[in-house]
């Protein structure tokens, strides 16, 4: 048992856990926002996969990791809108639409990778700049705590800040309240004069950005 304990409380273990946790946290945040906005979140998987790919491509073609991340976030928003258009405007079943987007992502990303690199496996052939790690001043000098808290990827810190930001946004701002109202009951929101479509697309935007960041972390982090 002592071996087990020393593994769990080692710095490497905690740092690795936080790294592995980051994309899951982004995915969960995206699903949470979808859920609060009353939109089924099946498509998150496909959105993240697409964002991971476009993140690499954006980073490769502009030679800038920041633009790569922004490309991924933009992809997330676009696909999220596509999903919203299919479910809200075309009134397709959200579960089926999600399955459609996930199917498309699973194949189409491989398709694009094959078209660009000539291999189906990965984008290893593309030499891309990655998102830098951040050393936090002062904190990094504290023993143990500094090693655990400092030196993570920039996107990991953004993920944790997003948790804070989203909880404030959803529970302390009028827009957040309206998003949750629309999510609970579209009819009720309509009856008090909330522009339902606007807040649904706001939900899609935020969730898309979260999924996009998650995808970017998987490929650029």
């Amino acid at each position: 048992m002592s071996g087990f304990g020393s593994v769990i409380f080692s710095v490497d273990f905690i740092v690795t856990t936080i790294r592995v946790m980051t994309p899951i946290l982004y995915a969960a945040l995206a699903c949470m926002v979808f859920g609060k906005g009353g939109i089924d979140a099946i498509a998150t998987e496909g959105i993240m996969l697409f964002a991971a790919l476009t993140g690499v491509l954006g980073s490769y073609f502009t030679n800038s990791a920041v633009i790569g991340v922004l490309t991924a976030a933009a992809t997330g928003i676009m696909l999220s809108y596509l999903f919203g258009y299919i479910t809200i405007s075309l009134r397709s079943d959200p579960i089926l639409a999600g399955i459609a987007i996930n199917t498309l992502a699973a194949g189409f990303t491989v398709f694009i990778v094959y078209m660009i690199t000539g291999s189906k496996g990965s984008t290893q052939a593309l030499n891309t700049p990655v998102v830098p790690s951040i050393e936090i001043p002062l904190i990094q000098d504290i023993p143990f705590v500094g090693e655990v808290l400092s030196g993570h990827n920039l996107l990991t810190y953004i993920a944790f800040l997003s948790v804070l930001g989203l909880s404030v946004f959803l529970y302390k701002t009028p827009s957040g309240l309206r998003i949750r109202t629309v999510g609970e009951s579209i009819d009720a929101a309509n009856s008090v004069g909330i522009n339902v479509r606007k807040y649904q697309y706001m939900t899609l935007t935020i969730a898309g950005i979260m999924a996009g960041f998650g995808g970017a972390f998987m490929s650029l982090g």
């Binding site: 009134r91 579960i95 089926l96 199917t103 189409f108 491989v110 094959y114």
Partner: protein, 356 residues
């Protein structure tokens, strides 16, 4: 008459969706490929060029027909149960376990293995239905998660008890020779699984159209409140329908395993379950159309495979067709006004004719 013209409209919807999807893909091929006409030719006509390729179509059709039938049954009760993926997988695991554990005479051993697979698949799909009825748990979430439970449970069973150390991968021991489904056509791998799948289709059609259980399932799925008021035990009906649906998926796992493989060699989920959803949608959730929808998908797949081996277009372009078809068929807005007009017209005609 009313039913007929609405049904024709639904067929038109499906055909439009398929044609639009194909048009999008052909456009992409024209934009990307150096030899677009050749690529399209391979995709559309490739499967017909040799007996072996036609065989490939039928082989690919068998497992997805089973999952398509499973989806038709699962969704008939109005539940979005996605566990046919796990049911198919655990069905083939159960078949493996039965084939390697029991020492039974020929034919009986295959039957026993198939029954084990059906039970395993049935139990898998029963769990989300049970949780839905008893605990009001969202069947979508429980069934999606259950797929992973079944994947790792299955892999655990295979690696723990039936793992063949002489192979370099996580394969099971070889099945006894009597376990293989006999081939029925020389030069292809088409086996009697084809007859089993046709039989399964007939059984499902019979259950849905000729038994009171099938009628009750349809009623529960289309209007749960009304069926409750009319005294149907909707909970039992839902759980029963999920169990039967899972049995089709599990049987599919066994038939695919004994027809195409000599050992258990899956290392991940097969994705046949997701294909089943597409097939069920294209087949308009009618058992009798499922084999044709499966044949269509299998034909497209085989064609895309031949195309990818002969030209510069990768196989994955097929997923574009799949997703566009799903979206266009499930989109309620498309042809909605035509549908409304048709309903109004039919009702008026019925009124004039004094039929109703």
């Amino acid at each position: 008459m009313k039913v007929n013209s609405l049904a024709i409209l639904d067929v038109i919807r499906v055909l439009v969706a398929i044609l639009v999807a194909l048009a999008i893909v052909f456009l992409m091929i024209f934009l990307i490929s150096d030899t677009p006409l050749e690529a399209i030719g391979y995709m559309l006509m490739g499967p017909l060029t040799s007996l072996r390729r036609m065989g490939n179509v039928v082989e690919a059709m068998v497992p997805i027909t089973f999952t398509g039938l499973a989806v038709v049954m699962l969704y008939r009760a109005g539940l979005f149960n996605l566990s046919m993926e796990g049911a198919f997988f655990i069905g083939s695991v159960a078949a493996t376990a039965s084939a390697l554990s029991f020492n039974l005479p020929p034919v009986i051993n295959i039957v026993v293995a198939c029954i084990c697979a059906m039970l395993a698949g049935g139990i898998t799909c029963f769990i989300p239905g049970f949780l839905k009825v008893k605990c009001k748990a969202n069947e979508l979430v429980t069934s999606l998660m259950l797929n992973y439970v079944m994947l790792f449970l299955g892999l655990f069973i295979i690696t723990q008890f039936f793992f063949d150390p002489e192979m370099n991968a996580t394969y099971s021991y070889k099945f006894p020779d009597s376990m293989f489904l006999p081939r029925i056509l020389e030069g292809t791998r088409i086996n009697i699984g084809l007859f089993i799948v046709i039989g399964a289709t007939l059984v499902l059609w019979f259950i849905l159209h000729k038994t009171s259980f099938g009628y009750k399932v349809t009623l529960v799925g289309s209007n749960g409140t009304m069926s409750r008021y009319s005294g149907i035990k909707s909970g039992a009906i839902i759980m029963g329908s999920q169990f039967i649906g899972g049995m089709f998926a599990g049987l599919g796992g066994a038939v695919e395993l004994f027809g195409m493989y000599r050992r258990f060699q899956y290392t991940g989920l097969t994705r046949y379950g997701w294909d089943g959803i597409l097939i069920a949608i294209v087949a308009q959730h009618k058992a009798e159309y499922v084999p044709f929808a499966a044949l269509f998908l299998a034909y497209l797949r085989t064609g895309a495979d031949i195309m990818s081996r002969n030209t510069d277009i990768p196989y994955e372009i097929i997923t574009i067709i799949q997703s566009v078809i799903i979206v266009l068929i499930s989109a309620k807005v498309i042809l909605l006004s035509a549908r409304k007009k048709l309903i109004v017209k039919e009702v008026k005609r019925a009124e004039l004719g004094g039929g109703v």
